[in-house]
C-alpha cells in the first residue's frame, strides 16, 4: 500500500476530549489518484500532516510506502518526507524573497538523495519542462503570477523525485483556465512519474478528473 492508516486517533493536546480524526482503516494503493473532499475544519490538514509525518501519530499505525511513520522519530519522519513525498499547497508554496531556482534548490538541499550533481541544471530543466519562461527564473517568486507560482511549486515538489505527491487545495487560488491547465499538467506528471497522488479539496467540480473520490467523513469517524 502507498498509504495505510490503522486505528488512528488524533486529538489536539489542549482538547483531548474532542477527537479531530478517527480512522479505523484507510488505504491508498500505489499509483492511485485519490480525491478527498470535505468542508474546511473537518480534519483534512490533520490527515495530510499525519501522512506527511509533520505530526506525530499518538495512537494507531500510519504506514507510507511501506514504512511505519508512527514508529519513527521526528528527524526520521523529516528525512522520509523530504525523500519520498512531494507537497503542493493552496498558496504559499514558495519562499517569496527567493527566485524559482533558489526555491527548488532549497527543497533539494534538505534531501539525502543526490540524483544530480548540479542542482541548478536540474531546477532549470524542471522549470523548462513545466513551461515556466526563463525570464521568471531569477525573479523573486512574489513577483510571479499565481499560475506561474503554482507551476514552480510543482517543480519544487518533484525535484526530489517523490513516490507520493500530496496536493492540499492547490487550485483554489487559481482562476478557471489556470485551474484546468494546472490539473492536466499535474495529472500528466503523476502518470509520467508513476506517482501516487493524494489530492485534497473542497471543490467538487474537480472530481471529474479523478477515478477515486472519497469524502473525509467516510474515512474519519470524528467528522
Amino acid at each position: 500500500m502507498a498509504i495505510e492508516l490503522k486505528g488512528v486517533h488524533f486529538n489536539h493536546a489542549e482538547a483531548p476530549d474532542i477527537p479531530v480524526l478517527q480512522v479505523p482503516y484507510w488505504s491508498v494503493k500505489p499509483g492511485q489518484r485519490v480525491f478527498v473532499h470535505g468542508p474546511s475544519g473537518s480534519g483534512k490538514s490533520t490527515l495530510l500532516n499525519l501522512v506527511s509525518g509533520l505530526l506525530e501519530c499518538p495512537k494507531g499505525e500510519v504506514s507510507v510506502l511501506g514504512e511505519r511513520l508512527d514508529l519513527m522519530n521526528r528527524r526520521q519522519r523529516d528525512r522520509f518526507r523530504v525523500n519520498h513525498i512531494g507537497y503542493v499547497f493552496q498558496r504559499f508554496n514558495l519562499i517569496p524573497y527567493l527566485d524559482p531556482i533558489e526555491n527548488i534548490q532549497l527543497a533539494k538541499s534538505f534531501s539525502a538523495r543526490q540524483h544530480c550533481s548540479n542542482s541548478a541544471v536540474t531546477a532549470q530543466s524542471l522549470l523548462e519542462s513545466l513551461n515556466v519562461e526563463a525570464a521568471a527564473w531569477n525573479r523573486p517568486t512574489s513577483q510571479l503570477s499565481m499560475g506561474q507560482q503554482q507551476r514552480v511549486a510543482i517543480a519544487r515538489a518533484l525535484v526530489n523525485r517523490p513516490e507520493l505527491l500530496i496536493a492540499d487545495e492547490p487550485t483554489s487560488a487559481l482562476d478557471q483556465e489556470n485551474r484546468d491547465n494546472f490539473l492536466s499538467l499535474l495529472l500528466s506528471l503523476v502518470a509520467e512519474h508513476k506517482m501516487t497522488l493524494l489530492f485534497v479539496s473542497h471543490d467538487m467540480a474537480l472530481t471529474q478528473y479523478f477515478a477515486q473520490v472519497q469524502a473525509l467523513s467516510d474515512i474519519s469517524k470524528a467528522v
Binding site: 509533520l54 523529516d78 518526507r81 519562499i95 527543497a107 534531501s111
Partner: protein, 376 residues
C-alpha cells in the same frame, strides 16, 4: 524602525566612548614637558584649568620676585612664565618669554614648530597660534591692537599700541592654537609699565625627576607668598575623577538606549514570526529541521543589527566630520573622525551579542513551534 533604533544606540555608545577617549587624549596631550605648574594658592584643578587650558580666571597672580627665586633653584632646569588676562577678538593673549618656544611641549614630547616666521624679539612682536592666524586671517607683519579683558568688543581698548605679527605656529591640537603670544613686557607695555611686577603662573622643568616632590614641597611651603605647585598628570586624573560620575550617567543612558533597541528587535522579530507561519510551515514540509529555523531567525537578527550598526557608525562618522571644526574652535578639543578603535569594536561586539541573545526569544518560539508542529 528597529534598524534605526539600533543605529541610534550604536551612535550614542560609540560617540560617547569616542569623545571620552579623545577628550582625555586631547587634554592629556596638552602639556607633556612640564614637571610642575606653579600658581597662586588655589585649587589644583583651577590652577591646571586656567594655566594650561585657559579656562576660568586666575584667582591671584604671583610676584615676579617669587618667580625669580624659584627659577633660580638648583633643581630647576627651565621655567616658562605665563601671564594671562588680555584678549584680542576673543582669543586669549598670553605673555611669556622665548623659553616657551624652547621648552613647552605637547603630545608625545613634541616641541612647538613655526609654520611661518620666528619667535618674538621685541616688546611689540606677536606670535599667533595656528587657529588664530587662520580665523583672523592675519599674515606676517599684520598690525594688531590688543585689549583688556577677553571680550573682543570691550570698550577699554589700548588703541595706541599696535603690535606686529612675527611668527605663526604650526597646528598642535591644543589650546596653544588659539592663543596670541607676546613677550611678558608686551603685556606690561599695554599698561604703560615695562617691568613685569607679577605673572599668572609658570611651568617648570626639573633637572632630575627625582626632585619633583622636594621642589613641590618647597614651593608649597614658600614663605613670602602662598603658592601652589601641581603635577599636571595628578591634576588631570583629579579632573577625570570629577568627570567620571557624569560619564557613568551618560554611559548608563546609552546602555538603556541599547537595551530598548535590542528588545525592540526581539519584539519586531516576534511579530514577523507570527506573520510568517506559512513560511515556517513550508520550510518544515521541505524538511528543514527546527534548528535550521532557529538559525534563520537569528541570522535575520544578525543582518538587522549589522545594518543598524553600519548606519550608526556611518552617521557618527559624518557627524564627527561635521562638528570637528566647531569642537576644536570652541573647546580646543581635537576629534579624529575614525571611530574604529579597539573600544569601538568591543562595543559593537557587545551589541551584536546582545542582539543575538534578544533574538533568541523569537528564534526559540519558532524552534518549538517547528518541533511540536501543530496546525496553523
Amino acid at each position: 524602525m528597529t534598524l534605526a533604533s539600533i543605529g541610534v544606540a550604536i551612535f550614542v555608545l560609540l560617540g560617547m566612548e569616542h569623545i571620552r577617549t579623545q577628550a582625555r587624549d586631547s587634554f592629556a596631550s596638552t602639556v607633556s614637558g612640564a614637571d610642575l605648574i606653579v600658581g597662586a594658592k588655589t585649587g589644583s584643578l583651577n590652577l591646571l584649568l586656567y594655566s594650561v587650558f585657559r579656562l576660568g580666571a586666575p584667582t591671584d597672580n604671583i610676584s615676579w620676585e617669587s618667580y625669580q627665586a624659584i627659577a633660580a633653584d638648583d633643581n630647576v632646569a627651565w621655567t616658562i612664565p605665563i601671564s594671562l588676562g588680555d584678549s584680542h577678538r576673543g582669543y586669549r593673549v598670553l605673555g611669556t618669554t622665548p623659553a616657551y618656544f624652547e621648552h613647552f611641549s605637547y603630545g608625545k614630547k613634541r616641541n612647538l614648530v613655526f609654520s611661518d616666521g620666528a619667535e618674538f624679539k621685541n616688546t611689540f612682536d606677536v606670535v599667533l597660534g595656528s587657529e588664530v592666524a587662520r580665523a583672523l586671517e592675519y599674515p606676517l607683519g599684520e598690525e594688531m591692537i590688543l585689549a583688556h579683558g577677553i571680550v573682543s568688543t570691550n570698550f577699554s581698548r589700548h588703541d595706541n599700541k599696535p603690535f606686529h605679527v612675527v611668527g605663526i605656529l604650526a597646528p598642535t591640537g591644543t589650546p596653544v592654537d588659539q592663543t596670541i603670544h607676546v613677550q611678558l613686557q608686551g603685556i606690561e607695555a599695554m599698561h604703560d609699565n615695562l617691568v613685569p611686577e607679577s605673572i599668572t603662573a609658570f611651568m617648570l622643568g626639573l633637572k632630575s625627576r627625582m626632585a619633583t616632590f622636594t621642589v613641590q614641597r618647597q614651593i608649597n611651603d614658600f614663605v613670602t607668598e602662598p603658592l601652589l605647585a601641581i603635577l599636571p598628570g595628578v591634576a588631570l586624573s583629579e579632573l577625570w575623577q570629577m568627570v567620571g560620575m557624569f560619564e557613568n550617567v551618560l554611559r548608563l543612558i546609552s546602555v538603556l538606549v541599547l537595551v530598548a533597541a535590542v528588545l525592540g528587535l526581539s519584539a519586531v522579530l516576534l511579530a514577523s514570526v507570527r506573520e510568517r507561519n506559512h513560511e515556517i510551515h513550508l520550510l518544515r514540509v521541505l524538511g528543514a529541521p527546527p534548528y535550521y529555523l532557529f538559525f534563520l531567525i537569528e541570522l535575520e537578527a544578525l543582518l538587522i543589527s549589522v545594518s543598524g550598526m553600519l548606519l550608526g557608525v556611518l552617521s557618527l562618522y559624518l557627524c564627527l566630520l561635521f562638528v570637528e571644526d566647531a569642537l576644536f574652535a570652541n573647546f580646543g578639543l581635537q576629534l579624529s573622525p575614525s571611530v574604529f578603535t579597539k573600544e569601538g569594536f568591543v562595543i559593537m561586539l557587545l551589541v551584536l551579542t546582545a542582539a543575538l541573545v534578544a533574538a533568541a526569544i523569537p528564534s526559540m518560539k519558532v524552534y518549538f513551534q517547528a518541533k511540536t508542529y501543530t496546525d496553523h
